[in-house]
Structure formats: structure tokens, C-alpha cells
Amino acid sequence: MSDQLCGADGVNSQTGETWVYSDIVKEHFFSPKNLLMREAKEGEFDGVGEVGSAACGDMMWVGIKIEDDRIVDMKWRTFGCGSAIASTSMFSVMLTENGGMMLEDAMRIKPQDIMGRLGGLPKRKIHCSVLADQAFKKAVEDYQNK
């Protein structure tokens, strides 16, 4: 991870400790986009994926709708901290903005890309956003196996 992407929080270079979230992170935390506030109905999504566990402190669920290899909808649910919520929200925006991304392109989104759009994340929180793209990849797998 380049320092440029991780440095937006004013991280202490000695201890690596930090706490501060950028304004974009806060906006996505307090008003998350595409968050599903209920359990998904049977057959509601073309593919679903879940990664993580409550014991690890992060769990991510993703559901996608696909039309002609394009993502027309993506919804998610989480048991996770501020940066997990914000990074998944941003990821969902990236997948669905401008009429939806092609699956092929969406599969190439890296955690760094999400963090870039968020204006950086505290260094120790980076693993949280990895969870969002992992859950998405599982959902795509589920879709392709159907």
C-alpha cells in the first residue's frame, strides 16, 4: 500500500496508531449507500456471497443483480466497524454508478482503488475493505455457478 493512500488520516509513523477518518469515510459511514436493512428474500439476487465471521469482528454479505454481464444492483449487509461500513458503501457506489459496471471490470477493482476513492483509511483498517471485494467475488462465483 502506498503511503499516499494511507496517509490521509495523519497516522503516527512511530506507532502506526490512528483513529481519524476522512470526511468521505464519515459520509459513507453515517449515510451508507446500497445497504440492505433486512434479510434478502429467496431468489431476490442473482448471486450472493458472504465472508468473515463474527469472531473475527468483521462479517460481510453481498447480493448482486446482473443483466447482460452488467451489474444493475448491488446490496450489502455487515457486522463491521466504521471503515468496513464506509469502504463497502463506496465499493457499492463504484459498482453501480454510471449505469453499472461490467462484471469483468468490477472483478478487477482492488482494495487500493476503494481506498483511493475514500481519501485513505487508517493503515490498520485496510483489511476491512478487502472483505468487501472478497464478498463480491463470492457473489459473482455464486452467480456464475447458477
Partner: protein
């Protein structure tokens, strides 16, 4: 969770309030303490080691502070060592005893849920070749006394058990632990000034529990000022006469050669004043806080589904409320509370620099989920029933909202 979700209809409060509920982290400094400290910054700035007037003023202030602290501990003033923090006092106790008595034994007995100031010092000593036994606690957070007694053998130089836990507020029976050690020493034909010694981290208890060292039967006690409405950056280590320590800071030989460095006169004056005031207020404040604490615990358990109290219900500090809120993550709760003016803390991994969940909640034998969703609310002098009602009024809809977004549904 959008703003449109966070409306009065969804149970969110309309009027914002600022509520500080993290007194176990630190307390605001009391005006009276600040006034006591003030003259020692600019006017009476002397170095206590100097012979001339300025030095004598500083030395007198230092001696006076030491005397005042010793009155609260019920000990001689020569038994009070001023340090730079509670952490430093804990380190001095552990390293100081371990190194000084290394030819008498190389084992320390402590518990699994000590403050990191003790745990990480113990871990360092392990790396240096010492044996450390971490005695477990039961589901209520009380040290398992039979396990503790079994762990203390003739090779043990120090037993360190915290007086009250910083996260869950559980109070340990120090007198009973002191008796175990005393009986063993008698059995081994050892005197009071022989190892093993008993150290306790009492940083959370000043102002809530008695610090009388005779009654407690302890040999070393750590406190700091920042949790009792005093300044940050100053601590005390009580060291019973007859107990020897190897210093961890070397230099000009201040503090009876145990803690070199020019004495921080304003800080020790502030600590002494804060301790006196906390002690004078203690019984009245405990009487006021216990019903408030119990009210808050009851409200949370009644109004918010799937909550579990962490720690013993009554053997706990008057100001400590700690609950695990299942299926949601503590840092997310904390950020929402902050948005509504409430300051509290969480045992979630996401809120720690190491990304480890609370070792205290895990030490109780709970699964990791309980630690990730644990919240500590620590009350203090400013806390009122209205504050508690407001916190509940925010916590309830926040938990409901985060639960709706959570894919987890733990069975309890």
C-alpha cells in the same frame, strides 16, 4: 442508516446533549486541583534538589504532597514514590522486584486480565527468562483463588493482581490474596520482608474504594492522578518499607534513588490534592453512583435486546457499566454515539491499535463476538440520571439500526 432513517419516529432523540461517559479512561481536572498546581509553573518553579530559596520551596511542596498522599494510604511518607504515570509505576513494580530479587526466584504470578501496563511488562520479563503464570478469572471476572494459590510457589517473587479491572470494574479480594501469600511465607519460614510480595494496580479505584494499605495487606500499590480529576502524567508507587526495588530509570537519584529525574512539582501537588478530595468525597460519591450504575445496567438490559452484562453485578466499581451488545460491532456503535454527543469506549478489535479484541472480555470465557460488541460506560462526578436516560435514548435506536444491517443473529 441514512439521516432519513435517524428520525424521531425511529426513536432517535431530537435534542442533542453532550454526555461524557468515559471517566475510566480519564477525568476532567477539578478546578481546585488546577488552582493548587498553578503557582508551581511560573512563580515557584524551583528544582527541589537546589539548596537556595526556590529549591527549598519546591522541596517543601514535594514533601507536603508526599505526606498528604501517605495519609490516604495510611503509610509513612517515605513509602510513597512519585512516578510519571500508572504505567510507569506498574513497570517499576514488576521490573524492580524481578531484577532485585532474581537470586531468590524467577517467577511472577499475575492474572489474564490485568491492564497492559502489567501484562506487557510481564511479557517482556518472560522474554528476559522469567517464568510468568497468568491465573484465569471466572465468568464474573473474579480471580480463581485456588488456581492463584496453586501458582504461588517458593520460586515466586511477585504476585500482581489488579484491585479493580479497568474495563469491567470487577473488584478483587486483595485481603484474601494477601492472606494466601502470608500463610505460605509462614509455612516456608519466611518473614514479611522476604519474597513473594503482593503488588496491585489500583488506578481505577481512587475515589471509589479504600486505599488503606494496612487493611489491604499489600506491599506495592500503583495509582495515577488522571482518573481522579487530577493531572495526567503523574503516578504513585507505594512501596512498603523493607521491600527493595531495582530502579528502571537511572540518573540523579531522586525519589529515594528509585526514580531519577527532576521532580514534576505541579503534577505531584495536583495528584496529592486530587487524591485528598477524592478520598474526602468517596463514601458520598459511591452512595450516589451505585444506584445510578444499577439503573443504567437495568435500563440497557431491559430496553436493548440481546445484551449481556460483563463482570460481577455487585463486586464492581460504583462507576462501571460494561455490556456486550450482540450481533453488532463496538466501533460502529461508538461512532454513532459520538455523533450524538456521547463519549464511551469499546472492547472491539477495531478500536485498538493492535486490532485485538478486549482481552478482558475474552478472559471471562466469552466468545470473541462478545468482545467485539462490548461497550464500557464509566460514570463520574458530572453524571446524572438525565445523562443516563439520554445515552439509553441514543443507544437503543443505534443498536436497532445496526442490527438491521447485520447479517449475524447470535443465539443466546
Amino acid at each position: 442508516m441514512t439521516k432519513t432513517n435517524r428520525t424521531a419516529e425511529n426513536g432517535f432523540p431530537v435534542n442533542r446533549r453532550e454526555v461524557y461517559m468515559d471517566h475510566a479512561a480519564t477525568t476532567p481536572m477539578q478546578e481546585e486541583v488546577y488552582q493548587a498546581m498553578r503557582p508551581f509553573f511560573v512563580e515557584r518553579f524551583g528544582n527541589a534538589s537546589a539548596l537556595y530559596k526556590h529549591g527549598r520551596e519546591a522541596k517543601e511542596a514535594l514533601a507536603d504532597a508526599r505526606r498528604r498522599v501517605s495519609h490516604v494510604f495510611g503509610c509513612g511518607s517515605g513509602e510513597i514514590i512519585f512516578t510519571g504515570s500508572g504505567t510507569e509505576s506498574d513497570n517499576l513494580a514488576l521490573f524492580g522486584i524481578a531484577r532485585k530479587y532474581k537470586d531468590r526466584g524467577n517467577k511472577i504470578v499475575t492474572t489474564t486480565f490485568e491492564h497492559h501496563a502489567v501484562l506487557n511488562a510481564a511479557k517482556q520479563l518472560e522474554k528476559e527468562g522469567l517464568e510468568v503464570v497468568y491465573v484465569p478469572v471466572d465468568l464474573d471476572g473474579k480471580v480463581k483463588m485456588n488456581k492463584l494459590a496453586d501458582a504461588i510457589d517458593e520460586n515466586t517473587v511477585l504476585v500482581s493482581v489488579m484491585y479493580a479491572n479497568n474495563e469491567i470494574g470487577v473488584v478483587q479480594d486483595l485481603s484474601a490474596i494477601a492472606k494466601i501469600i502470608r500463610d505460605k511465607k509462614k509455612e516456608w519460614g519466611r518473614g514479611v520482608n522476604d519474597a513473594p510480595f503482593l503488588h496491585t494496580d489500583a488506578c481505577q479505584v481512587s475515589g471509589y474504594l479504600p486505599l488503606d494499605v494496612q487493611k489491604l495487606g499489600v506491599d506495592l500499590v500503583t495509582i495515577n492522578a488522571s482518573k481522579m480529576y487530577g493531572p495526567k502524567g503523574v503516578g504513585v508507587l507505594y512501596v512498603r518499607r523493607g521491600v527493595r526495588l531495582q530502579p528502571i530509570i537511572f540518573g540523579g537519584g531522586q525519589e529515594n534513588k528509585l526514580r531519577s529525574g527532576t521532580e514534576n512539582i505541579p503534577a505531584v501537588v495536583g495528584l496529592a490534592r486530587a487524591l485528598e478530595l477524592a478520598e474526602a468525597d468517596r463514601e458520598k460519591e459511591v452512595e450516589r453512583l451505585v444506584p445510578l450504575r444499577d439503573y443504567m445496567i437495568k435500563q440497557i438490559l431491559e430496553k436493548i435486546p440481546k445484551c449481556v452484562l460483563n463482570g460481577h453485578a455487585s463486586d464492581r466499581l460504583a462507576n462501571n457499566v460494561n455490556v456486550s451488545i450482540l450481533d453488532i460491532e463496538g466501533e460502529a456503535i461508538l461512532l454513532y454515539l459520538d455523533e450524538y454527543g456521547v463519549s464511551a469506549s469499546t472492547g472491539s478489535a477495531c478500536d485498538s491499535s493492535t486490532l485485538d479484541p478486549s482481552h478482558v472480555v475474552v478472559a471471562l470465557g466469552h466468545p470473541y463476538e462478545f468482545a467485539h460488541g462490548s461497550m464500557r460506560f464509566s460514570l463520574g462526578r458530572s453524571t446524572t440520571k438525565d445523562d443516563i436516560d439520554y445515552v439509553i435514548s441514543v443507544l437503543k435506536p443505534v443498536c436497532a439500526l445496526l442490527r438491521k444491517a447485520s447479517p449475524i443473529n447470535t443465539k443466546i
